[in-house]
Amino acid sequence: MYAIGIAYGPDIDYRHCDGCGVCYEHCPMDIFAWDEQKKLPIVAYPGECCFCCFCEVMCPQMAIDVRFPVHHLLDFGIDVSRLKRETPLGEPE
């Protein structure tokens, strides 16, 4: 038996996160919580993410990847299996 949580919303790569707290400070939906012991942000309410992607854009360490929900990707004909984490957020082609 296993339980799968909500798979969309910000995904923090803790290898790169330095705990600056910009995401925690600015998320409009206030979905981040703060781990006082580790001094790191936690995605506490991913279900309430509205995919504005500000956290991803603002993160100085580029440690956040906002994942879109499956229905969103499929409805636009995006092949989910081809997406890679490295997809950079920069200038469009």
Partner: protein, 594 residues
């Protein structure tokens, strides 16, 4: 015995000008007031944060100002243009306050110098204004014009666009100019004395602190009620936050204003956009930044089939997408092509597809654009109607005079909470700030009397009840209740409305309120915010359904379409449904809009 005020609140803030909501209207009002008079004490409270809040966040636009090539460098609008203006005159007949509209049009450019001053880049390198052009390519906002034969002409219009980091710059400027900013602070009530607003209570959604703000004048700029319908193609809880405009805005300002004594109007008018399925714009602005080419289920491109435009002779500042679902009055042949079912699910004959070809600035849009393969992606997406909520076009808190003051003394309102968002919010924010700066000089801070303390005590008890609740057996998750109520709205109110279903909606909403609100539970201030929001959403939902029941005609379809009264009724010309509170009761009236 009346408790002491100090025991009821965790802090008292005194200010000259309290602004509730730090979106476009709120930010510009704060900034303008400070620039006009450096001595005035201005405070902004915002449920999110100053830098990233409201509908305009990250959209990078300054839209809705009609521009033609020759108008690009204009700084004011002439009388002639006001007279000629097609600002939705036909479609919105009787639904808008035209005195206020005229003031708004005249002052359309009022905020532009201030925005430029704080570094919002509205100009290209050569100094010309940045304009996002484009009727032909898609669904950008604009005005349709007609030649002498009544045929639509090719207008040049556009939106100021690509004004990078608009909201970030506004928020930063507000802080820099000495405005007191309270982030993560949610309005919970307005304090009333002798028919005027003298302050507000608010909850910090991080610390749980309950604050009292005392003010000489208040601007309500809390945005639209955009969490009234679910996004039906997303699973729970994504369906609640996958809204077309900012899901931060749930309509709390509407409810607080109503409870304090202001009137709401046109609350039955729900904005409907036809957008590409799977699209959300948490950052507002709807379809402005997505370009579509629409075709019907037979594969015919609507643009080619109706070369003279696929819009009605409506004019006005409505997104092109909205026209597509709203042409029933004058273009039945288009409606047939674009018709969507009452269930809002595309069926074989009703599928309208779009080409997703490009997107622009919002971070989300840009990222998604890239994931979708950019301009190379020619995968058609279905087109669906999205029920956006109340406030983007018309409806909300009723303004009673030319200063955008509500029925309550010293309570002003601007932005989507009065149904005039975007750069109209900019305009009204500036106008109200100019007025308030002069006004507060002659006002004194009102004392908090026994009556007000009792009101604060009652609000405090109400606010914290989900947090302090002792669970005996069943308890209710705020999001689950919100999902239920919004689904009821979708199933029983929606686009095609009919009396028995509307009555059922009222019944179901009341039942949910009666049996579930007393069981709402929150574990922390964040969840408490959601618990308070759902109570406001329930309140607005009931008003929405009851107003729709009262308006026995169809107008501004699809904003209000009664299947049992499918035509416009001349007896409703210039009339609106208003609602006000009298004690525990809500009084609904059919009134002439001034």
């Amino acid at each position: 015995m009346v408790p002491k005020l100090e025991h009821l609140v965790d802090g008292i803030v005194e200010t000259d000008f309290l602004i509730i909501g730090g979106g476009l209207a709120g930010s510009i009002a704060a900034l303008r007031a400070k620039k006009k008079d450096g001595h005035i004490d201005v405070t902004v409270i915002d449920k999110a944060t100053m830098e990233y809040s409201g509908d305009g966040v990250g959209l990078d636009n300054f839209n809705q100002i009609p521009l033609r090539k020759q108008d690009l460098e204009k700084t004011e609008v002439t009388e002639e243009e006001v007279r000629k203006s097609t600002f939705g005159a036909d479609r919105f007949k009787g639904l808008r306050q035209f005195k206020l509209e005229a003031i708004q049009i005249k002052n359309a450019y009022i905020s532009q110098p201030l925005l430029e001053e704080i570094g919002v880049k509205v100009r290209e390198d050569d100094g010309t204004l940045k304009v996002l052009q484009g009727y032909r390519r898609g669904t950008v906002w604009g005005r349709v014009e007609y030649d002498e034969q009544g045929r639509p002409t090719e207008p040049f219009f556009g939106t100021f666009s690509r004004a990078s980091d608009l909201k970030l710059k506004l928020g930063t400027a507000v802080r820099k100019n000495g405005v007191k900013v309270f982030d993560r602070t949610m309005l919970t009530s307005l304090i009333v004395k002798d028919g005027g607003a003298i302050g507000a209570t608010a909850l910090n959604t991080r610390t749980g602190k309950f604050l009292l703000f005392r003010a000489k004048a208040i601007l309500l700029a809390t945005g639209a009620a955009s969490r009234l319908y679910p996004y039906p193609y997303a699973p729970f809880p994504n369906n609640l936050f996958y809204t077309l405009t900012s899901p931060v805005n749930h309509g709390g300002g509407h409810v607080c204003a109503l409870n304090a004594g202001a009137k709401l109007y046109s609350m039955e008018m729900n904005v409907v956009y036809v957008v590409s399925k799977g699209m959300n714009h948490s950052s507002g602005g709807g379809a402005c930044n997505w370009y579509f080419k629409m075709y019907n289920s037979k594969g015919e491109y609507l643009e080619d089939k109706y070369p003279e435009r696929i819009v009605t002779k409506a004019g006005g500042m409505i997104p092109g997408v909205n026209f597509l679902y709203a042409p029933n009055m004058e273009r039945p042949e288009v409606e047939k092509d674009v018709i969507l079912s009452a269930k809002h699910m595309a069926e074989e004959d009703e599928v309208v597809a779009v080409y997703f070809t490009a997107a622009t600035e919002p971070p989300k849009a840009l990222k998604f654009h890239m994931l979708a393969g950019g301009l190379k992606n020619e995968e058609p997406a279905e087109c669906i109607p999205v029920l956006v909520g109340i406030g983007m076009a018309t409806g909300g808190v009723l303004r009673e005079n030319e200063f955008s003051e509500t029925g309550m003394k010293n309570l002003f309102a601007a932005g989507n909470v009065v149904g005039r968002g975007g750069s109209f919010g900019f305009t009204w924010g500036c106008l109200i700030a100019d007025h308030v700066v002069e006004l507060v000089k002659s006002l004194r801070m009102e004392d908090i009397g026994v009556e007000q303390v009792e009101q604060i005590e009652k609000t405090r008890a109400h606010v914290f009840s989900p947090l302090n609740r002792k669970v005996e057996y069943y308890f209710v998750n705020p999001l689950e209740l919100e999902d239920y109520v919004r689904t009821v709205n979708y199933q029983y109110v929606g686009i095609k409305r009919v009396k028995p279903r509307l009555e059922r909606a009222v019944e179901l909403i009341r039942r949910a309120k009666r049996s579930c609100v007393p069981l709402l539970v929150a574990r922390n201030p964040h969840e408490l915010m959601r618990a308070l929001e759902v109570q406001d959403i329930i309140e607005i939902s009931e008003i929405h359904a009851r107003s729709a029941l009262m308006r026995t005609e169809s107008r501004l379809v699809p904003c209000h379409f009664r299947e049992d009264y499918p035509d416009q009724d001349p007896s409703w010309d210039g009339m609106v449904v208003t609602v006000r509170r009298e004690g525990e009761d809500l009084i609904y009236e059919k009134e002439r809009l001034n």
